[in-house]
């Protein structure tokens, strides 16, 4: 099967760099699967998992927003932060989740609640992905 090069990049450096058969992401407008030979595309992503399928092997990367850029020869995912399933610190993610929930309970719909909500989403995403490995 034809493969395509995938880069996941954050401001702190590259997180993932490999040839895969298919990339599945969660874009703002819905699920988006990319295989080799896709039209050049740009799409914003939501907090979610990036699934990188290569043969029978599937890698998971947790991304926090960012972008997907598809070029004829390479798929680049630019995110504010991203973690591979293997490197996620489950205990830390659970602590972050508890903290965010705590903050949501003590809050009354201000700007902080919005931020806590996002933090909660990120933590849940990381926990889910960590459990998939």
């Amino acid at each position: 099967m034809k493969t395509i090069k995938v880069n996941v990049v954050t401001p702190d450096g590259p997180v993932y760099d490999a040839e895969v058969e298919m990339v599945s992401t969660k874009a703002k407008s819905g699920e988006l699967g990319i295989m080799a030979g896709h039209v050049p595309t740009v799409a914003p992503l939501t907090i979610g998992a990036v699934r990188l399928k290569n043969g029978s092997n599937t890698d998971y990367v947790a991304v926090n927003g960012g972008f997907l850029e598809v070029r004829p020869d390479v798929v680049t995912i630019l995110a504010q932060s991203a973690e591979r399933a293997e490197t996620i610190d489950l205990a830390r993610a659970q602590a972050a989740k508890a903290r965010a929930e705590q903050r949501l309970q003590n809050n009354d719909g201000s700007n902080d609640a919005k931020r806590a909500n996002l933090a909660l989403k990120r933590a849940i995403n990381r926990i889910q992905i960590a459990e998939m490995r």
């Binding site: 954050t10 401001p11 702190d12 874009a27 703002k28 407008s29 988006l32 039209v39 050049p40 595309t41 740009v42 799409a43 914003p44 927003g65 960012g66 972008f67 070029r71 630019l78 504010q80 932060s81």
Partner: protein, 220 residues
């Protein structure tokens, strides 16, 4: 974020270090910013300061200039997480029209012995050169406007992070150079003082011997 609007308030993001002993690293940048502000503005209400680094913050606070946002204690090797909340709030200042343009001041790293004070306009994002850019026929999902809405704040934030890293590289090299010249000066001082000490010691010994010899000669 691409179109400029009438400027009522200007934001200045100034990157300095937390500690001194870095030669002219902080003083040259603060002198430049201070001069520019005095030239451009008549009153303190026309601008806000965003300070990274304790030296810069103290400088502006002591001059009664309004420091809107500040970050101190940035580690020696900053990661994006250290600066992301400041970068986000800075971009939000612009989006909420609390400032209408944003300039960034930092020391650009040229070489270990040379740093250049650099002024860079971050917002509005004006310096796009689209005339000779090769526009690939991208498909935008869902559309170009929504992508720009997410992309531009991120771009501005990474510009700030890039400047911080550049500033940190300059800080480290400025500090290195300053410390090296301090070591050199101290070594020179030690050399000249040891020479002086040895001369004085030798003179004292010579004098003592002369006295003893003189005394012995007088006895005979």
């Amino acid at each position: 974020m691409l179109t400029s609007r009438p400027v009522k308030k200007t934001g200045y993001l100034v990157i300095t270090s937390d500690r001194g002993l870095a030669g002219a690293y902080n003083s040259s940048i603060l002198r430049h910013v201070h001069k520019t502000i005095l030239e451009r503005h008549k009153s303190n209400d026309e601008f806000v300061i965003i300070a990274i680094g304790r030296v810069g913050r103290d400088f502006f606070v002591s001059r009664n200039m309004h420091v809107e946002l500040e970050v101190t204690g940035v580690p020696d090797q900053p990661s994006f997480a250290d600066i992301s909340s400041l970068a986000k709030s800075t971009v939000n200042l612009y989006l909420n029209e609390l400032c209408d343009e944003l300039y960034m001041y930092y020391n650009h790293y040229v070489s270990p012995i040379q740093q250049e004070v650099t002024e860079k306009q971050v917002l509005p994002l004006a310096d796009f050169n689209t005339s000779n850019a090769t526009l690939t026929s991208y498909e935008f999902e869902p559309n170009a406007e929504e992508i720009l809405e997410v992309l531009l704040p991120q771009y501005a934030e990474s510009l700030i992070y890039g400047a911080l890293l550049d500033g940190k590289a300059s800080e480290h090299s400025a500090r290195m150079t300053a410390m090296k010249s301090a070591t050199d000066n101290a070594k020179e001082l030690i050399d000249s003082l040891s020479l002086q000490y040895n001369r004085a010691r030798q003179a004292a010994i010579t004098q003592e011997i002369t006295e003893i010899v003189g005394g012995a000669a007088a006895l005979e």
